[in-house]
């Protein structure tokens, strides 16, 4: 499946219009180059919105995240599934129009599975995600400070072992940038036409069973 870039055919836009970053190859793909001040400000603004939404959604609460894993509160699944459906339709529409690039994550089965399970264990012990933990601190859950320090410590420890992991577990089941329709040998549009209604049905069922 393609993750290729879009043709950049636009001429220089007027100064006041915020242009899509997707056209600016030099900025987004040069590895060592720092983000522009514009990107940094955008990052901050998007963060404010994201943190605001997580708090308003209630998922920054320890009780709500744990309630999801104890299967007594389905707020997390409702928010995530809704965001996935809206984002999926929106991002693939923008991509079809040549307005955005995709950033599909590489599939390495062994690392995805082992890391995913480990992440889940840690999540239930911490009671916050990396994202909702920051939002939790923002709303005054001070135990998130210890969680954030733990997240940094765990990240650094991962870096310590990264050389070893790259040559071992990350090689097992390394499939590259594959997407779900590739597994089924389906065209993207056909897959979306089936998958999006299925996700909507799933959301409807969750809403019915756990209002």
């Amino acid at each position: 499946m393609t993750t290729s870039s879009n043709p950049s055919s636009e001429s220089a836009p007027p100064v006041l219009i915020i242009t899509p970053q997707g056209h600016d190859k030099s900025e987004t793909h040069a590895a060592g180059k720092p983000d522009s001040p514009r990107q940094l400000v955008l990052g901050l603004l998007f963060g404010v919105v994201f943190g605001f939404l997580l708090q308003k959604g209630g998922v920054a609460k320890y009780e709500v995240l744990m309630g999801q894993f104890l299967l007594t509160d389905f707020t997390v699944i409702k928010i995530m599934l809704t965001a996935i459906i809206v984002g999926m339709v929106g991002v693939f529409m923008l991509h079809a129009l040549g307005l955005v690039e995709l950033h599909v994550k590489p599939t390495r089965y062994a690392a995805n599975i082992a890391g995913g399970l480990l992440f889940g264990v840690g999540l239930a012990l911490l009671g916050y995600c990396p994202g909702t933990g920051i939002a939790a601190l923002g709303q005054g859950n001070y135990d998130a400070i210890a969680g954030i320090l733990g997240l940094m410590a765990g990240s650094y420890f991962y870096a310590e072992t990264s050389g070893f992991l790259v040559s071992t577990i990350q090689k097992i089941g390394n499939r590259g940038l594959i997407m779900l329709p590739d597994l089924l040998g389906m065209r993207l549009a056909v897959f979306l036409a089936v998958f999006v209604p299925l996700l909507l049905l799933g959301l409807y069922l969750v809403a019915q069973l756990a209002p």
Binding site: L53, L70, M88, G115, G120, C129, A135, M179
Partner: protein, 169 residues
């Protein structure tokens, strides 16, 4: 099944996060992702102690410890959640969550110790898996990444099992 888990409807918040994802793709050419920012921040702290040791790690050769879009995103999230909580009258100002206290008592050190250990395991898992609830769970999943759907399912399996061991054993 509390109807008032959040101040806003889950579907409204989910829809807005979906729209926010479209905006970050369009304006910044980046998907929403959070956990890498912790690794960058940790690398910056590591640089204070031993720059050469930090720079020798394979991971930090690919992911530079510096302030970039994702780190700014996390700073913004702190601010955004604070604004939401203040304006909604939802500032908690607590060291131990109520549910935890019911089960494990009000000992602050125990809660902080568990949060630290849990955070460390969470971050190690996120790096190994290649993302967290945002990077895999929302951004990767909405792009149909196979890795993200595999990871997302494993997140839930690991968390449901562990949470039930913690609270029902």
């Amino acid at each position: 099944m509390e109807p008032d888990s959040g101040a806003w409807s889950s579907y409204l918040v989910g829809t807005l996060i979906g729209l926010l994802s479209m905006a970050t793709f369009y304006f910044s050419n980046k998907p929403l992702s959070v956990s890498t920012a912790y690794a960058r921040l940790a690398g910056m702290v590591g640089n204070l102690f031993s720059r050469s040791h930090t720079e020798n790690q394979k991971y930090y050769q690919d992911t530079k410890p510096k302030i970039e879009w994702g780190v700014m995103l996390v700073f913004g999230m702190l601010l955004g959640a604070f604004i939401a909580a203040v304006t909604g009258g939802e500032i908690t100002a607590q060291w131990v969550p109520a549910l935890w206290e019911e089960r494990f008592g009000a000992d602050v050190a125990l809660r902080l110790g568990m949060a630290f250990v849990g955070g460390a395991i969470t971050a190690y898992g996120a790096r190994l898996a290649g993302g967290c609830t945002s990077g895999h769970g929302i951004s990767g999943a909405l792009q149909l990444s196979v890795s993200s759907w595999v990871a997302l399912i494993c997140f839930f399996v690991g968390a449901v099992a562990t949470a039930n061991l913690l609270y029902h054993l």
